[in-house]
Symmetry: C2
Subunit: 184 residues, 2 copies
C-alpha cells in the first residue's frame, strides 16, 4: 500500500547538478509504503516537470532513519519524521516569494561525480549563521527507474487528457443545447 504524504513544487536555490540555472522549480514527493508485515518505508522523490530525466530518490526505512537520527541529531522518532519534514517544506514554500527568505532548500551535487548523488538540504539562515535542519543524500534514478517513472507520468497524463476530452465534449454539448433552446 502506497500513500502520498506530500507532493508539491518547491524552489531550490542551488541546483548546479544539471542546469546552469540558479533557481529551479522541483517537485518534492514523500510517499509512505506499508507492507503486510507492518514494515513502513518512506520514499523521498525529487522530479522536475521541465526535465523528464531528472529523478532523485531516497528510500528511508526505520533502520535507515535510526542512523539518520544519530548522524543529524534528530530528536523525533520515525513515525513523526514525515510530518516534521513536511512542516519544514511548508515553511520553505511560505517564504519562497520573500526577498529575504529565512528557510531555503538546497540541492548540491558531488562535483567529482558526473552522475550519482545529490544532497538535499533544508537550511535556515539567521543573523548569525546557516542552520542545517535536515540533509538527505538522494540517489539519482537509474535508466530503469527513470523509464518506470516516465511510464507512470505518461499513464497519468493520458488519463488526465482523456478526462479533459470528456469534460470538453460534455461542456460543449451542454452549452450548445442551452444555446439552441434559447434561440428557439
Amino acid at each position: 500500500k502506497l500513500k502520498m504524504l506530500y507532493s508539491d513544487l518547491v524552489i531550490l536555490t542551488q541546483k548546479p547538478c544539471h542546469t546552469s540555472k540558479k533557481k529551479a522549480n522541483v517537485r518534492v514527493m514523500i510517499e509512505l509504503s506499508t507492507t503486510p508485515v507492518h514494515r513502513r518505508d518512506l520514499l523521498v522523490k525529487l522530479t522536475d516537470d521541465t526535465d523528464p530525466y531528472f529523478l532523485f530518490t531516497l528510500p528511508i526505512s526505520e533502520e535507515d532513519f535510526q542512523s539518520l537520527k544519530v548522524q543529524q541529531g534528530l530528536l523525533i522518532d520515525f513515525a513523526s519524521f514525515p510530518q516534521k519534514f513536511i512542516d519544514l517544506l511548508n515553511l520553505c514554500n511560505l517564504e519562497q516569494d520573500s526577498d529575504n527568505p529565512r528557510f531555503l532548500l538546497h540541492l548540491t551535487c558531488q562535483s567529482t561525480m558526473v552522475e550519482g548523488c545529490a544532497t538535499f538540504s533544508i537550511v535556515e539562515t539567521n543573523a548569525f549563521k546557516h542552520l542545517n535542519h535536515l540533509s538527505l543524500r538522494l540517489i539519482q534514478g537509474s535508466e530503469k527507474e527513470v523509464k518506470e517513472y516516465l511510464a507512470a507520468c505518461l499513464a497519468s497524463l493520458k488519463a488526465e487528457k482523456q478526462a479533459l476530452d470528456r469534460k470538453f465534449k460534455e461542456t460543449e454539448d451542454d452549452l450548445c443545447r442551452q444555446l439552441s433552446y434559447t434561440q428557439q
Copy 2:
C-alpha cells in the same frame, strides 16, 4: 534532419513476445534521417500505445540495405525501398478487417531469449503457401532508448493536452458569449 515517412497502427497477427494476446495493435514508424554529408538512414520503429516499454527498432543504412537486398532477394534500390515497404504495410492495413486477409504482419521473438530481437515479417498467404515479402530483424530498445522514447511521448502528449486545454477554454468562452447574447 528527420522526416517521418510512415506512422500508423497495424495489426500483428503474431505477437507472442510480451503478451499472450494473439492479435495486437502496434504502431509502425518509418523515419528517414539525412545527415549533412548526404548520408541517408532509415529507422524502422515499432511501439505499442498500450505498453510503454514496448520498443523495437532497426536502423537501416545504405550498406545495411545492400546485405538485406542480397539476403532476401530484393530487386529494388535503397531509394525506392521505403515506398515499397509502405505499400506493403498499406496492403496489410487495407485487409485487416477481412476474414481472410491475404497480407499479414507477423512479429515473432526468439524463444530462447528473454529480451533481444524480434522478427517483423510481411507475409502473403495464397492457396499454395506463405510468401515472405520482407523480414526485418528488430532490436529491442535498451533502457536508455525506452527512456528517451518515453520522454518524447510525454513531451508530445503534454503539448496535445495544452492545445486541448486552450481549445476547451476558447470554445467554452465562445459558446457562453453567444448564450449570454441570445438570452438578452
